[in-house]
């Protein structure tokens, strides 16, 4: 089965400026991929190439197996696209706007009311259904844009900063809509909000200066960025025995033992461990078998650290914007 979205060594040039350099990645059905990058990194251009608004200078973009260059209209039926700026007709009311998009997307006329009701409910637009779009607040405009993308049950969603301008409650609701859509369909989500990526994305693609720097699960990226993590624990145990026990655990490289502040009987330990998922479990088993373990936590690099790591590392490409 073809990938929902596939880019194969895609380049985009405007005159002598190269915006996208040899970009390749895929998004599969049933996953949400976060698309991260600083301003001007090429996220929007990439989104536009997948959506068919612009064409790649070279390389291949396919959507559900349809080549964007030759089978644009077939591919467009598979895509729900929310551009960076919601594409709304200010003079129309929300219902007329959504009806227009539904008709163009080929929703059969008798099915349009049900379809409008579905997206209106999903995006919380009941209260403004008959209101002219120019009267709507930024948050509602964003949600009308999302509703438009969901119309016609597309096979995938391309969302360019979907939660921008929303209040915290709306952000949560919108994420829930995206998450439930992403359980069965494919979603490519460009955003600046790193916590959003950690919350809902299975994989993250980091792009800068038009080049793909990394694509992996958030935990995969964490491992790639830092070879070691820190594990902190508090235990009631004799210091020497504890030190020996911990050093014998596979994956623990070094440690430091101190008395916990305010309680001499409790030891506070900081271990430097391999960046593997199973190390803290092994530590917990080793300690809890013999002594009282009060607390254990692993300090992983945050997505912010990872993002900065990649973005600050990449040299600006020659000729890039």
């Amino acid at each position: 089965m073809p990938s929902a979205i596939a880019l194969e060594s895609v380049w985009k040039r405007y005159g002598s400026r190269t915006i996208i350099h040899d970009l390749s990645f895929t998004v599969e059905k049933g996953e949400i991929v976060g698309f991260l990058g600083p301003n001007g990194a090429g996220k929007t251009t990439t989104m536009r190439m997948i959506a068919g608004f612009t064409t790649a200078t070279s390389g291949r973009v396919t959507v559900a197996g349809y080549d964007m260059a030759t089978q644009n209209a077939e591919a467009a039926r598979q895509i729900g696209y929310l551009p960076e700026r919601p594409p709304l007709y200010d003079t129309l009311d929300v219902s007329a706007y959504l009806r227009f998009v539904a008709r163009v997307k080929g929703v059969p006329r008798p099915a349009i009311p049900t379809e409008l009701e579905r997206v209106t409910t999903a995006c919380g637009l009941e209260a403004v259904f008959r209101r002219e779009i120019y009267k709507l607040s930024k948050g509602y405009r964003q949600r009308v844009g999302l509703a438009q993308a969901l119309l016609g049950k597309p096979a995938m969603l391309l969302l360019d900063e979907p939660t921008i301008g929303l209040d915290p409650g709306q952000i949560q609701e919108t994420r829930e809509v995206i998450r439930s859509f992403g359980e069965v369909h494919a979603v490519l989500l460009s955003t600046h909000i790193l916590s959003e990526v950690t919350l809902i994305c299975r994989r993250v693609a980091i792009i800068n200066h038009g080049r793909l720097l990394a694509i992996d699960s958030p935990s995969g990226l964490q491992r790639a960025v830092e070879q070691t993590n820190r594990v902190a624990l508090q235990v009631t145990a004799p210091a020497q025995a504890l030190r020996e026990e911990l050093l014998s655990v596979d994956g623990v490289r070094a440690l430091e033992v101190r008395s916990a502040p305010g309680d001499d009987s409790v030891l506070s330990v900081e271990c430097l461990v391999d960046a593997r998922d199973d190390v803290e479990a092994a530590i917990a088993r080793a300690v809890a078998n013999r002594w009282d373990l009060h607390r254990l936590e692993r300090h992983q690099p945050t997505l912010e650290n990872i993002f900065l790591h990649y973005v600050s590392e990449a040299p600006p490409a020659k000729g890039a914007a």
Binding site: R48, A51, G52, F53, T54, T55, N72, A73, E74, A76, R77, I79, Y81, P83, R85, P86, P87, L88, Y89, D90, T91, L92, A96, F100, V101, R103, V104, K105, G106, E132, Q148
Partner: protein, 235 residues
């Protein structure tokens, strides 16, 4: 097909939800009414000929107001990104919009029919001449709209689109005046053939000539094809 009709319907609702449609039709009615009354009282002859000629010139100035927003407005609102990523071919977008604009033209034309009431009440005008005048008027309007829509696709700025359209349409209207500067017979023939006003004049006289119909239709076709090709090229 349904996508194209949806675009056409969207254009019409946009025209009627903003003041443009009412404004354009009202201005055109007032203008035509004024010329009609003036001509009738001046000549005392039950004919639409003079009025049609005035309507033609008025049309050149009103059409840009209808056509300027067709694409420029979409660029400005960021909705071009929607239109070109929906399952639509560029020609469907172009034709859908064009049909919407032509509907406004037909409405404008229909509004002038009111002038015929006193003409038929108090005189006995030649129906076939009036009919051919209206055919010429609609064809002229369709050609002007296609040109206007093409220029609207070239720029984000509606004013620029309107000014470009007026300039080009005035060029087509007066191009036959260049014939006195031409020594070559072929060039004289060409500038005469390209003149919107000469052909329109024939319609007003009651002549529906195939070369005149062809010119208007060919201008429509070229402008619309250029329009769709430009959208495709912009990708």
């Amino acid at each position: 097909m349904s996508g194209m009709l949806a675009i056409c319907q969207k254009e019409l609702s946009t025209y009627f939800r903003s003041p443009i449609a009412y404004f354009v039709v009202a201005v055109f009615m007032v203008g035509t009414g004024y010329f009609f009354t003036y001509n009738i009282f001046l000549t005392g002859i039950a004919t639409m000929a003079e009025t049609f000629l005035n309507m033609g010139i008025l049309l050149l100035l009103v059409i840009p107001a209808v056509s300027m927003r067709l694409f420029s407005g979409e660029y400005g609102a960021g909705t071009m990104e929607l239109l070109l990523t929906l399952p639509l071919k560029p020609w469907q977008v172009v034709l859908g919009k064009y049909l919407g604009a032509v509907a406004i033209l037909l409405l404008m034309t229909a509004a002038t029919l009111i002038d015929l009431v006193p003409l038929y009440l108090f005189g006995s005008p030649e129906t076939t001449t009036i009919l051919s005048g209206y055919i010429g008027f609609v064809l002229l309007g369709m050609a002007c709209l296609a040109v206007g829509q093409f220029f609207s696709a070239l720029t984000q700025n509606q004013i620029v689109a309107a000014l470009l359209t007026v300039s080009v349409l005035l060029g087509f209207w007066f191009v036959h005046n260049l014939q006195s500067f031409q020594t070559s017979y072929a060039l004289r023939g060409l500038v005469r053939y390209l003149s919107f006003s000469l052909h329109f004049g024939a319609f007003i006289q009651g002549l529906v000539r195939s070369e005149a119909v062809m010119l208007y239709l060919v201008v429509c076709a070229i402008a619309l094809i250029l329009n769709a090709s430009y959208l495709q090229w912009r990708r």
